[in-house]
Subunit: 343 residues, 2 copies
DNA sequence: ATGAAAGCGCTAACAT
DNA sequence: ATGTTAGCGCTTTCAT
């Protein structure tokens, strides 16, 4: 004999009031309820250990206080911080988070959007890491508002974005190298297919320009976001006898490979040659302590994304017909993670 | 004018059948439905882009295909793997996961159990890292089945556990050191308040014994799970001139501290002195590449926990009155993460 | 200040 | 083979 959870109805019966009254009291909508019944109902609810059934509630209110978080892989150290930021902000407003790993697979992304829609989440925070840009159909079934983190993505229902100023980020990074006295800074880029990559290169160009340094094509190599490529690029620079004294890398994987090639060639990093990269994928600075990086504020991105979403959700409750096509966009700055050179 | 999602009712009307029929077809309970109507209904559902409302469904079926995952902090590298394992297994059976960070705070743990109960999750996977052992009240309101991961914990409704054989783990670890030729192995333990800690020490003792080595008290130091303590303990060993040639540490934090102290004293690790630890908190091997560790199979723990839970949930559907007091327990082995010594 | 009643969208007997 | 019906537990007008 399974003891069923206590319902509003039983409380109403025991308190000798209607379920409507109980409901109002339990939801603090009791502007016009006598203090006497209020206390009585509250006491009984407590005594009977009442737990509201949010399914029933959601069925009528049409919101669940739950948001979905779609990301490629929580094991990739880039994402736990985002997830934590989002959860912290969500729980502040008593929202829960359903989290989903897609491995950057389009099919799975779509499947999760479907599932989350069925679960009637109030919104979705969407993160992907792939360099794939662009079109994706199949998201159309959903009517759930979406916030994008870090990368743009052409899907429906996007009501907000939390991005990073990549141009500024590499500008700041290259400037840091300049401040440390390096003058001949090479740039190893990954693929150039994304705006992110183009922005990062642009920041490099700007930093040189603002320091009266000329941008030279032979100091720039374009490849892919792999450590293997970082090594190859360095070896190519060396072979071509490009007289660089520092390298700024398109991401941390490239930087790791570059450092390895440099060390294998007998250089000391960063004493002989300064290396910086974007710490956006693998927290390279843990693996390679001598690496100074430009780090994305992941926790904050998650936090702000959740905030954006919750604000939108709660606002919508007031003005239902408002199908605002406006996309809120927040652009965050990066931080420098400065490592001590290994003495 | 907001376009409302299509309901089963509208589909029934359009197909000129009853909602019951539609429901059965959509749920593959259509043993006795003519293929003709079946096809018709399916076609209409597809055309109208039907998305089931799981709130309504859950309200009657009393399950949500959602499970809660409570852990201290997803940013701690110990947990993403668990989370991923759990999610992978859950999504296999079309379950979703709500994830919660407690920072090991008892109040928050309880609050989350409440929230998850209200959301009618079908079960909870519970992980904590604190060395606190024992009693916790306030979980009693919930009737949700709980699976414990990694540490035991005295709370109600636990129907299963996924643990690690710590005795065996340190036994294997110490044996590895022995195989590498080290003979005089010291042990730096954290607190001894947990069974985990006692088991690890016991494994060390056993390994020595099985190799005809005598256990000596002066080779063992007990402190706390902090890198600071690892350093202190090493310095104490050194000062006392204990002739150790290797150290096995109670966890990875301790190992990091120990290695630091060793290096500061001019030793090479692991060439002069071998060091091992449990890679259970901070993936020390990333920070300290020369460290060989005993690693918990976190992914598998998450996976198996979800599996245990889902099996229990689906079994319960068959035999409702079965209030099995049996606690399923799975004990997993650890793996050795072997690092190349830095050449 | 409180109650009656009508659902929210779906499932699950029980009829037919 | 399909329809009728009675809820699941809660919120929310609208009465009183």
């Amino acid at each position: 004999m399974v003891k069923m959870p206590v319902t509003i109805k039983e409380i109403a019966r025991e308190a000798e009031v209607s379920t409507a009254t109980v409901s109002m009291i339990l939801n603090n909508k009791d502007k016009s309820i006598s203090e006497a019944t209020r206390q009585k109902v509250l006491a009984i609810a407590k005594k009977r250990n009442y737990i509201p059934n949010t399914m029933a509630r959601s069925l009528v209110t049409r919101h669940t206080r739950t948001i979905g978080l779609i990301m490629p892989d929580i094991v990739n150290p880039f994402f736990p911080e985002i997830a934590r930021g989002a959860e912290d902000r969500a729980s502040l407003s008593r929202y829960s988070i359903i989290y989903c790993n897609t491995d950057d697979n389009l099919m799975r992304e779509e499947a999760y959007v479907d599932i989350l829609t069925e679960k009637m989440v109030d919104g979705i925070i969407f993160t992907h890491s792939a360099d794939r840009e662009g079109e994706a159909d199949g998201f159309k079934r959903s009517r759930v508002p979406i916030i994008l983190i870090d990368r743009d993505y052409d899907i429906p229902n996007v009501i907000g974005k939390v991005l990073v100023d990549n141009t500024k980020a590499s500008y700041v990074g290259v400037n840091y190298l300049l401040d440390r006295g390096y003058r001949k800074i090479a740039y190893i880029a990954g693929s150039m297919h994304t705006q992110t990559a183009r922005d990062r290169l642009e920041g490099y160009r700007k930093a040189l320009h603002h320091n009266q340094l000329v941008f030279k094509d032979e100091f720039v190599k374009i490849g892919e976001y792999k450590s293997q490529w970082g090594s190859e690029a360095v070896n190519a620079f060396l072979k071509e006898k490009i007289p660089f004294d520092a390298i700024f890398c398109g991401n941390d994987l490239i930087a790791i490979g570059a450092i390895k090639a440099l060390k294998d060639s007998g250089y000391k990093v960063p004493d002989d040659i300064g290396v910086m990269g974007f710490d956006d994928i693998y927290m390279a600075s843990m693996v390679e302590p001598s690496l100074t990086t430009v780090k994305q504020p992941n926790y904050e991105m998650g936090y702000r994304a959740a905030e954006l979403l919750i604000n939108a959700i709660e606002k919508k409750e007031l003005s239902v017909d408002n199908q605002s096509t406006k996309v809120d966009t927040i652009i965050l700055d990066t931080e420098l993670t400065i490592r001590q050179s290994t003495k």
